[in-house]
Subunit: 205 residues, 2 copies
């Protein structure tokens, strides 16, 4: 692509650094901004700048927050004996939107993945172990995605927590509510048979 | 979506204003920026800010430019008797990349579209008429997309140029080079038969 303007070329090049945004999409987005009032670009630029510079990570659960202790950790009505281990803020938002969970979280910031060069020390695992060591936490719920990386991470943390008196559990995998058996993959269907639950339990909520 | 951070929420909301970017995609993009070094966000922010504030539109052809007269208009080796009328800078880039056109351009900035509230006065049509009125232009080539809006715009400009002694032409529509007849739509195939060209001409270039 040959640009008639260096300013435009720079903006497109930076936009194209975003994941899933190619040069053509970047050009479309940038030309859109040029057609809109200047104030829209200023708001976008301001919001991104403020976010990157002022955002904090909760010192307890490492979730993204505007303050040092996030709203969930600071909420006295949350059960602080239960900690749900998730990968990032999107998982926290997904679980929060169910309204079914009253405990706290621990945001790892990723999964152990040697291929991507992510080891245990790149995640907030040490901080989780420390939370457990302090003795308040009674149960750890693993809610990482069930991939090789997720399972590896779960197992690594499980091993780290062995010295401590803490219950570990993992969220249930199975056929989604409303899902049809014939379209389910064999692994999920197999697991949902092995991990079947008493019928009375399925009547709750 | 419930956010744990107002800063994050603002950034996502502004990002989601871009065309084709929903809330989920915006969140993914913004979280990506948070994971990258601060310098990446600063470069993006700086490039967008500079572009929106410093970019100019060529006073002659209205193409995006860093200077008052764009490189193409300022190039003495371009044939200034021919002007190709296009919708936006992407069309200029597409035609330039063919290396087949040596004339100048006129960027309209859109097409006449009453549904979107875009009338002739929202485009740079008056400026095009003025260029023709000054007498240097001998041929106008219409290269708008062949939609109802494109055809309307072509016809409106054609009518405006009637008082002047200028040849008007439109780029050829037809089966793309390498395209197979059986997959072509009927309108395109029909036009390409009606507007057939002498075989000798097809040997050029």
């Amino acid at each position: 692509m040959e640009f008639s303007s260096k300013l435009l070329e720079n903006a497109v090049a930076e936009m194209a650094q975003l994941p899933g945004v190619g040069k053509r999409t970047a050009l479309r987005l940038v030309l859109h901004l040029l057609k809109q009032p200047e104030s829209q670009t200023e708001r976008l630029v301001g919001a991104l700048h403020a976010m990157r510079n002022e955002i904090k990570f909760c010192k307890k659960c490492h979730n993204i927050s505007d303050v040092i202790l996030c709203d969930i950790c600071a909420n006295p009505r949350r059960e602080d004996e239960t900690v749900c281990v998730v990968e990032d803020i999107r998982d926290v938002m997904a679980i929060e939107s169910t309204g079914q969970y009253k405990g706290l979280y621990h945001v790892l910031g990723g999964k152990i993945s040697p291929i991507d060069g992510i080891g245990p020390s790149d995640l907030t695992i040490a901080s989780l172990v420390e939370r457990v060591a302090q003795g308040e936490v009674k149960e750890i719920i693993f809610a990482l995605s069930s991939t090789i990386e997720g399972d590896t991470t779960n197992f690594y943390i499980f091993k780290q927590l062995e010295p401590y008196n803490v219950v570990t559990s993992t969220i249930a995998r199975g056929i989604s509510v409303g899902g049809e058996l014939e379209y389910a993959d064999e692994v999920t269907l197999g697991r949902s048979i092995i991990n079947r639950i008493p019928f009375e339990n399925s009547l709750k909520s």
